[in-house]
């Protein structure tokens, strides 16, 4: 745990008879790469083993780096190979939060706001935990973007979940939640008093422990190990929801109704954790099936989460593929409305009068592009049920806590299935320009003064040349330092003159929900609507912005009379161009977006 960044891994050995005399501990090294080297050595000595990364959400952004590792060495093909060889699974849910995604990373995912816990272990004063680099979905997107742009992918992992209980017993049910940190949260009074566990997080924010499901040939250690290695696993938030997910090119729409659909699933495609075989149709089809826990809530829906990459940018979209009841998906967005709730918060009860026992379907990706890297995973949601805090508030006769939701939608996640374009298909991929290509053509990077002249106190229209989307960014005045002349309140700079030198605010405008925003832009739809702004600086020839403390820098290149922007998280591509102002955002009669 270097500098309070949780980089712990759980190590699983294939054969109990061959475990080493001593574990590899933080005394040996604090760097994951050293752990993987040690694991390689063990494997060479005939002792097969695998690692599962633990609590990525508490890693301060260091669990899934894209630039350098904890030693400061670049993330490269060797790093990727070592990681993939040793770490087939990540822990997506446990007592201290979820590591699937975060609302600021997945602003269009209405179910992303689930059991979020963003802190640093040990609560170092004055440090704000980083969100970027701490979540699995972003890592999966970055992984395929790296593979597409640089030829290696360190983030080909499946999902598991675990307890992180420190009591030797696992509190995985809302109706039997007994805490996970001995005396600090071991009584209902300690938990519901909002005891700060280890002085760093409110005990009421603890969630139930997760569990890992494994699809294996038989219930033996060797068979389970092999299944974990090939990522044929799924994660649940506690209830024993079962989920299967297959991908292929030849699954008929009615296949899932047949008795032996699982056999066909294996015969004609790949199970979760696998790679789609070479294309045999226009689009891949996925078979997905889930059954509820017989002692928990019914199922609301199954979604397929898709991620893909174009020119260094990562994108995601969530499809509702099968759901309970006769709800109609929205005609235009395809989104299935919420299932409603039977939860009586005051009495902390619910009924299974809504939802389904079993959900299954065959789904075809309606927006498949064979030239692009992509991944798909299934997410199964239960109907809303009372959270443990609501149950225990009822027990104490107090109000449910105001720091967490009164209900949860328990869930399961299948491991992903990847699509890798063939060399032939990849040639057809739409591609924008790279910084290297621009420089070769004679483009020049702007310096600070040129950047200021170009954008400061201007409203700039930009086009994302990857998606074609256009929107506006207002770059407000920069702080000019102490010797700016005193201004009167009616002067626009009356407020901004008190900013630090070279720091201003920017605001993004005119982004709607249908705009496919690329990775790490935050909630631009909300920002457009609410008029919120964020800080920017002009430093060393870059426009520096940030997302929860992670800098994102934009360099601007001038080629003839055109200006191109390159974001630091897009792997060498220059995907933005300054364009003339747009008069109508959604002209009638134009191709629908």
């Amino acid at each position: 745990m270097p500098n309070n960044m949780n980089l712990h891994r759980n190590i699983f050995f294939k054969d109990c008879g061959k475990v080493p005399a001593m574990p590899f501990s933080a005394l040996d090294s604090k760097h994951p790469v050293d752990l993987w080297s040690w694991m390689d050595g063990q494997r060479k000595a005939g002792n097969d083993l695998l690692a599962i990364s633990h609590n990525a959400n508490l890693s301060d952004g260091r669990m899934f780096p894209t630039e350098v590792d904890t030693n400061g060495r670049p993330i490269d093909a060797a790093y990727a190979a070592s990681r993939v060889r040793n770490e087939p699974l990540i822990e997506i849910k446990q007592l201290k939060g979820t590591s699937e995604t975060h609302p600021l990373l997945s602003p269009n995912d209405e179910f992303a706001n689930f059991e979020i816990l963003s802190v640093l272990l040990g609560n170092p004063p004055g440090r704000i935990a980083h969100v970027v680099g701490s979540y699995a979905r972003q890592a999966l997107k970055d992984g395929i973007a790296l593979e597409d742009s640089k030829g290696f992918n360190p983030y080909r992992f499946g999902f598991g979940a675990a307890s992180d209980s420190h009591n030797t017993a696992v509190p995985y049910r809302q109706d039997n939640f007994f805490g996970g940190h001995s005396f600090t949260d071991g009584t209902i009074e300690a938990r519901m008093s909002g005891t700060l566990v280890g002085g760093m997080f409110d005990a009421r924010l603890e969630g139930t422990s997760g569990l890992t499901g494994v699809w294996a040939e038989e219930n033996t250690r060797a068979s389970l190990f092999e299944a974990m290695k090939r990522k044929e696993t799924f994660a649940v938030t506690g209830p024993h929801i079962q989920v299967r997910f297959f991908g292929g090119w030849e699954y008929g729409p009615d296949l899932v109704k047949q008795k032996d659909w699982v056999r066909t699933g294996y015969a004609k495609g790949v199970p979760m954790g696998g790679d789609l075989p070479p294309a045999k149709a226009k689009a891949p089809t996925f078979m997905v099936w889930a059954v509820k826990d017989p002692t928990s809530g019914n199922l609301d829906r199954i979604q397929v989460v898709k991620g893909w990459t174009m020119s260094g940018q990562g994108f995601e979209k969530i499809y509702d593929v099968v759901w309970a009841g006769d709800r109609k998906p929205d005609k235009w967005t395809g989104v299935v409305p919420p299932i409603g709730s039977t939860v009586d918060v005051e009495n902390a009860t619910y009924t299974n009068t809504i939802g389904a026992v079993e959900l299954k379907t065959v789904w075809t990706d309606p927006e498949f592009d064979p030239s692009l890297h992509a991944f798909y995973y299934a997410r199964v949601l239960e109907i809303p049920t009372p959270r443990w805090t609501t149950l225990q508030a009822k027990q104490l006769g107090i109000a449910p806590p105001d720091v967490v939701a009164p209900t949860v939608q328990e869930r399961a996640w299948s491991s992903p299935i990847w699509h890798t374009p063939s060399a032939e298909a990849r040639k057809a991929a739409p591609r924008s320009t790279t910084v290297a290509e621009l420089t070769q053509k004679g483009a020049v990077a702007l310096n600070d003064a040129q950047l200021k002249a170009l954008i400061v106190e201007k409203s700039i229209w930009l086009q994302n040349t990857v998606t074609g989307d256009k929107y506006m960014i207002i770059y407000g005045a920069l702080g000019k330092g102490p010797d700016a002349k005193p201004l009167t309140p009616s002067d626009p700079g009356y407020v901004t003159q008190r900013f630090p030198v070279n720091q201003g605010q920017f605001q993004i405008r005119y982004v709607g929900k249908k705009v496919a925003m690329q990775s790490l832009t935050g909630d631009t739809v909300e920002a457009s609507y609410l008029g919120t702004s964020r800080t920017y600086n002009i430093v060393d020839g870059k426009i520096v912005t940030e997302l929860v403390g992670t800098p994102i820098e934009i360099s601007v290149y001038k080629l003839a009379d055109k200006y191109f922007g390159a974001r630091s998280n897009e792997f060498g591509y220059a995907n933005f161009e300054i364009v003339p102002a747009v008069a109508q955002l959604s002209p009638l009669g134009a191709a629908p977006r």
Binding site: M22, L121, T184, G198, G199, K259, T295, V357, E358
Partner: protein, 305 residues
């Protein structure tokens, strides 16, 4: 006379004291001359002590110690020894919760060691098994098939549909043609062979398991509710719980006997010690007013991992 001595030798307290003495003498003898507390202000590390330091280092899977590392470890050891002696001289071991707990724990370990001294005779073991046979009971098991009525397909009618189907199935055999057509496909098995209560509860929910083991074999019954919906059930057989034969569980019996023996000796030895003490307490244990003492939670310096 020999019977009296034999009985006497089986006394837990005597066994305990003898073992304690043995350990004490052995320990003292083994540690003579090593860097243990000594009154003359002299600290001597023997070649064996150094060997132990090296060994502890290597046992953690590390490279061999360099001379510099060795020197530092020896310094640390000497430092610890000096501080330990000075702390003893100042009486810092007195009234320290951690030290007290550790010493008490060492006594518990001594009890445990004593218990492991003796193996039971064959007769003893069998006699003990006869007395404790119910501990080696195998749970009841049920073999059954079922028809599933899915709330996903039938909604609120699922139970009534099941009841109507039951009427139609009256007198039908388990695998009669009518059975297959009346119900819905089930996600898991239609037939469960030889399942315990816990296994059924895990597959179909505890409510279903409770109802199942009350059913009479050889006819369709129900409707019974599971965690998935409604079912009609045909029980082929229910094997009642039964005690296993001694021969089949001898290893388990031996383990339990030793565990029992351990507990008995531990408690016996403790009771014998306890008898030498008079414990004085306030009359009313609940009288102390703790209301104002209720501790606020203390922040721990190191958080959970």
């Amino acid at each position: 006379m020999s019977i009296a001595i034999g009985r006497w030798l089986r006394e837990p307290l005597l066994q305990f004291l003898l073992t304690g003495l043995l350990l004490f003498v052995g320990y003292h003898w083994a540690n003579h001359g090593s860097g243990q507390p000594d009154s003359d202000g002299r600290i001597e590390l023997t070649a064996d002590d150094l060997r132990q330091i090296r060994f502890a280092w290597l046992a953690q899977g590390r490279e061999a110690l360099s001379p510099e590392q060795m020197r530092r470890l020896v310094d640390a050891r000497v430092r610890e020894e000096i501080l330990y002696r000075e702390a003893l001289a100042l009486g810092l071991d007195k009234d320290d919760t951690i030290v007290r707990r550790r010493m008490a724990q060492k006594m518990e370990f001594l009890f445990e060691d004593v218990a492991a001294l003796r193996d039971p005779t064959a007769d003893e073991l069998r006699a003990w098994f006869e007395k404790n046979a119910e501990r080696f009971t195998l749970p009841a098991r049920a073999t059954f098939r079922h028809l599933y009525f899915s709330p996903d397909r039938r909604g609120e009618r699922a139970r009534d549909d099941a009841a109507r189907a039951l009427a139609k199935l009256a007198g039908e055999p388990a695998d009669g043609p009518a059975a297959a057509t009346l119900a819905d496909p089930f996600m898991f098995q239609d037939y469960y062979g030889d399942r315990s209560f816990d296994e059924v509860a895990r597959s179909l929910g505890p409510g279903f398991a409770r109802a199942l083991f009350e059913l009479a074999p050889g006819a369709w019954s129900g409707p019974i509710e599971s965690g998935y919906g409604w079912h009609l059930v045909w029980v082929d057989s229910i094997t009642p719980a039964r005690v296993q034969a001694f021969e089949d569980v001898e290893a388990d019996v031996r383990r339990e006997w030793i565990e029992g023996q351990r507990a008995e000796i531990r408690e016996g030895a403790f009771e014998a010690m306890r008898a030498r003490y008079e414990v004085v307490l306030p009359k009313d244990l609940d009288a102390a007013d703790l209301a104002n003492l209720r501790a606020t939670e203390v922040e721990r310096p190191e958080g959970p991992r």
